[in-house]
């Protein structure tokens, strides 16, 4: 499942924020609910209070009317006018008094029922409602009510006019006009509606409501019959109060729009909301700070961890806090330090030899590069000494590993003491390097000499005297090499060269490396050349001096490389011997030679063929079987095959060689000692070998006719051979004179340019035919 990466900071922030917002929301909602409830309750109370106020205003109006009418009725002049039925005066008095209190109408009803009004049209419109009121006034002397005249509602007060007995009724009325409703609204803050209700039909007389609300009110009213009780519809909190005293059909509806009641609350609501918002923001900021205080050090530590992973251990970590994060940071500091130290240790160990304490192979190239880069600046040459303990294997084998280690340690120390201005490293098992800088080679020669001198006295190890000698190979930059790699290679070459030439110190000579590289090239090219047919077998005839028709041939390997040209056998045999490819070559040669032998035998040519074996071939136990197989496969008699070995070949692992030679001999193969006289073979060893032929090296033969020493050697060798029951072959016979001498000495077989140079197979066959023809 894919989990998107959400940083801890975001998670923490989200958690804290949602917590704060939830709390804020809850408190906001709770507050809102409480406020709304309180406000609504308050509104009801206000409405009731408003109703009270409305009643008082109405009462006040009545009292004002009553007072005014009373004053009118008690006016002596007015009484006079009424008593005398002076209509004009009466009307003017009514007008006058009405105007004083802004009453809308004034009336007088005479004792005989005539109605005189300030507005005469009013007099014409009065109906039962008004008459009821006047009747009450007549009875009680005074009366009040709201009456409707021509659809208009009036608050009406009527008093009896007494002089002193009742001589008429005087009244005044306030019309309940829109202005009146508005005044009440202004005083009470309530919407006021005067309603006339008759049976089920309600009529809106007057009020402050808007037209659409009026309609709603009239629809709603029948459902809310109870007077004095608060009811709510369409967001209007309403209260019905009676407007008139007797006239129960007249109602005043007082209303407060809920929106109006809630208006201050909505403002408060907004404030609350903003407060919540601000608090949320502050909390978010605090949460951010808190989250950052956690994640910032963590991020910092993560960065440091990445830098540690990248191998940088010196990042300064400042520990400010004393909490868990502080502990973590402290742990990081100690971890960083420990890792750094351990890596230093590991690095040191990886680059240093634990035995001698010297820098090891890994440091070789960095040190060389370093020296080379400095050489140019200092105008000096870099000299590289490769120092090898000559007889270390011997010490190790003959004494012990422990002593060997001690020797290495001491040698390293000694070299280190001598090479003070330079670097000493241990390259390999018993090889040391010394990198030195000097303006010329003389300084180096002195140092080399010092080293040799140092080992003139034997080392004392655990009370044992151990004589140690060293070989030193030297190469320099920039004279001998142009890079660290070539410098090392060339110094090593010099060492090898010195070792093989028995020199204690050997300076690199120009061309050695190229030679070395050619050898490498040959090694690489050999196998492909073999397969490609660039390597072929040449045959050189061997002639029996007593019986010239007894023929033999030596198979010789020739390599003509398309680029390198003719490669001398001496050169490439050495290369493939050292690379182990010699076995491959020997097998190929054996196979080719035996196939060729078959061909010759098929042509009725009686001939033997010699194949050279390398010293390494004798160590291969499978060889005798392979030879037997080849002979059998080609139906070649074993006596037709000669195998030549050099004296030196048997020197190493003599027993094994001897064993294999005996196995070959037992096949019926004839074995020869090749190049006899150049090696160091002892007669006793020779005696043990199951050989049948000696081949005297051509170096003794070439000048046989002129060199007395050679003559002595050759003659005694032939005699020696014969004594041991061996036939003797001379190689390098190039003249008739030499042949004659050899024949004279009793040499059995001759081989050389006198007869033929080595020839390719086809040429050789032709030569054989020619030769045999010539003999006849």
């Amino acid at each position: 499942m894919y989990m998107p990466r959400v940083s801890y900071l975001i998670k923490l922030l989200a958690f804290l924020l949602s917590l704060v917002i939830t709390l804020e929301a809850i408190s906001y909602i709770a507050t809102s609910v409480v406020i709304k409830k309180a406000v609504t309750q308050n509104a009801r109370a206000e409405l009731v209070a408003g109703g009270e106020l409305f009643s008082r205003i109405m009462q006040k109006n009545v009292e004002q009317l009553a007072l005014s009418v009373k004053i009118l009725t008690e006016d002596f002049g007015f009484k006079d006018a009424v008593a005398t039925q002076d209509e004009k005066t009466i009307i003017s008095a009514l007008n006058n008094h009405s105007a004083r209190i802004s009453a809308d109408i004034g009336v007088l009803i005479t004792s005989d029922g005539k109605l005189i009004a300030s507005d005469q049209s009013f007099a014409l419109l009065v109906d039962d409602e008004f008459s009821e009121l006047t009747a009450r006034a007549k009875e009680k002397g005074q009366a009040y009510d709201i009456v409707r005249v021509d659809g208009r509602a009036y608050q009406f007060v009527i008093f009896a006019v007494k002089a002193p007995v009742v001589i008429g009724l005087a009244g005044m009325g306030f019309e309940i006009k829109k202005e009146f409703s508005l005044d009440i609204k202004k005083l009470t803050g309530l919407e006021v509606s005067f309603i006339h209700r008759e049976d089920d039909a309600a009529r809106y007389l007057n009020g402050t409501l808007k037209a659409e609300n009026v309609k709603n009110l009239l629809q709603q009213l029948p459902q809310h019959q109870k007077i004095g009780e608060v009811f709510v519809y369409d967001e209007l909190i309403s209260l019905a109060v009676p407007a008139a005293r007797q006239n129960k059909q007249l109602l005043a509806i007082l209303q407060v729009p809920l929106s109006e009641v809630l208006a201050p609350y909505s403002h408060l609501n907004l404030q609350l909301f903003f407060l919540a918002l601000v608090f949320s923001l502050v909390a978010a900021f605090a949460a951010w700070m808190l989250a950052r205080s956690v994640t910032k050090p963590v991020t910092l530590l993560a960065d440091i961890a990445r830098r540690i992973a990248g191998g940088f251990y010196a990042t300064p970590i400042e520990v400010k806090s004393n909490d868990e994060l502080g502990d973590l940071a402290k742990a990081f500091i100690s971890m960083q330090k420990a890792i750094g130290e351990r890596e230093q240790q590991v690095l040191y160990q990886s680059e240093h030899d634990p035995l001698t304490g010297l820098p090891n192979r890994l440091r070789t190239f960095p040190e060389l590069q370093n020296a080379i880069s400095r050489a140019g600046v200092l105008k000096q040459s870099v000299y590289l000494l490769v120092i090898d303990i000559k007889n270390f294997t011997q010490v190790n084998d003959e004494l012990s590993q422990e002593i060997g280690d001690a020797v290495l340690r001491d040698v390293g120390q000694k070299i280190g003491r001598i090479i003070t201005h330079g670097e000493v490293l241990r390259l390999g098992s018993d090889e040391f390097l010394a990198i030195m800088m000097a303006p010329d080679a003389n300084v180096i020669s002195d140092s080399v000499e010092l080293i040799h001198n140092a080992f003139k006295t034997p080392l004392i190890i655990s009370g044992i005297q151990v004589s140690v000698d060293v070989n030193i190979g030297i190469a320099s930059y920039p004279m001998d090499a142009d890079s660290a790699e070539s410098l090392l290679r060339r110094a090593s070459l010099a060492l090898n060269e010195g070792r093989s030439s028995e020199q204690r110190s050997c300076w690199y000579q120009a061309g050695w490396d190229e030679q070395h590289l050619r050898r490498l090239h040959l090694f690489r090219e050999f196998e492909s050349s073999l397969h490609a047919g660039y390597i072929s077998l040449y045959y050189q005839p061997k002639i029996n001096l007593e019986q010239p028709d007894t023929l033999g041939a030596e198979a010789l390997v020739r390599w003509r490389h398309p680029e390198l040209g003719f490669v001398p056998p001496d050169e490439f045999i050495g290369v493939i011997e050292s690379s182990g490819q010699i076995t491959l070559l020997t097998r190929w040669v054996l196979k080719t030679a035996i196939v060729q032998l078959r061909k010759l035998l098929d042509e009725k040519i009686k001939i033997t063929c010699s194949v050279n074996l390398s010293a390494l071939d004798l160590l291969v136990d499978e060889l005798p079987a392979y030879v037997a197989e080849l002979l059998q496969a080609n139906r070649v008699p074993a006596e037709n095959l000669y195998l030549e070995i050099t004296e030196s070949a048997i020197m190493r692992e003599a027993d094994k060689c001897l064993h294999n030679l005996q196995r070959l001999r037992s096949l019926g193969v004839t074995l020869s000692i090749d190049d006899f006289g150049t090696g160091y073979s002892s007669l006793s060893q020779l005696k043990k070998l199951p050989v049948s032929e000696l081949k005297i090296d051509k170096s003794f033969i070439l000048n046989l006719d002129t060199n007395a020493d050679d003559q002595l050697i050759v003659r005694s060798t032939i005699e020696l051979g014969h004594t041991m029951g061996l036939s003797v072959t001379a190689e390098g016979v190039e003249s008739e004179a030499i042949k004659t001498i050899l024949k004279q000495y009793g040499c059995d077989t001759a081989q050389g340019y006198l007869y033929s140079k080595p020839l390719p197979a086809a040429d050789f066959i032709r030569w054989v035919h020619d030769y045999l023809e010539e003999l006849q």
Partner: protein, 222 residues
């Protein structure tokens, strides 16, 4: 014929009036007599009903008579009085406050502006009819003067009995009362000398007994 003016116990002390009445009435006595009993619709006797016998032949009263209504304790005394046309009525003020006596009655419209003691001129009532007197300052003060065109009149006592002595002849019996909402019809009567005429009168159209305190119609309306 003896004119008896019976006063309610409250009004006994008003000696002066009695005296004046005695002076003008008691000099002559007549043989014929009307014995009248006045009751309301329920048959209850009514007091202070004025009954007057107006002769067929309208008499002429050249010599004005004198009468007086005192004002004492913010009351007219007597509060009800019957007089013959062409009578001068004096309105002395026995109170230590001033009064403003007026009348808007058609029979006699007059006004005696604020005065003290005996300073007011007597008022001549020369037309028959009911005159309601009031005080412009004190609304509670009310007095009725019934002016009749005859010398033969009397007020009913507490039992509703009125006795009027007059010369035998034909008369129109007129009845007055302060609570009558409409004037009572005249009743023709004939008096003879041998035997008093007994008559019973029931008065309809009587206003109910007035509450002294006017009801308050305006307080506590809402």
């Amino acid at each position: 014929m003896k004119l008896t003016i019976s006063a309610t116990p409250l009004r006994i002390c008003k000696k002066i009036t009695v005296l004046i009445a005695s002076i003008c009435c008691c000099v002559m006595t007549y043989a014929a007599e009307l014995q009248l009993k006045v009751s309301d619709a329920q048959g209850q006797p009514i007091t202070d009903v004025v009954a007057a016998l107006v002769p067929e032949q309208k008499p002429v009263f050249n010599q004005p008579l004198l009468a007086s209504i005192d004002q004492h304790n913010k009351m007219f005394t007597p509060a009800i009085m019957a007089i013959r046309t062409n009578t001068l009525v004096k309105f002395p003020n026995s109170d230590d406050i001033r009064h403003h006596v007026y009348s808007f009655s058609p029979a006699k419209k007059f006004e005696l502006r604020l005065y003290h003691g005996m300073t007011a001129e007597p008022v001549l009532f020369d037309k028959p009819g009911t005159v309601v007197l009031g005080c412009n300052i004190h609304d509670s003060m009310v007095a009725y003067i019934f002016v009749v065109d005859t010398e033969y009149y009397a007020l009913s006592d507490a039992q509703g009995n009125v006795n009027i002595q007059a010369p035998a002849g034909k008369y129109r019996l007129q009845i007055f009362h302060s609570r009558l909402t409409t004037s009572a019809p005249e009743i023709p009567v004939a008096l003879s000398d041998n035997k008093p005429l007994q008559q019973q009168v029931k008065l309809e159209n009587l206003a109910s007994e007035k509450n002294e305190k006017a009801s308050d119609e305006f307080s506590g309306l809402f």
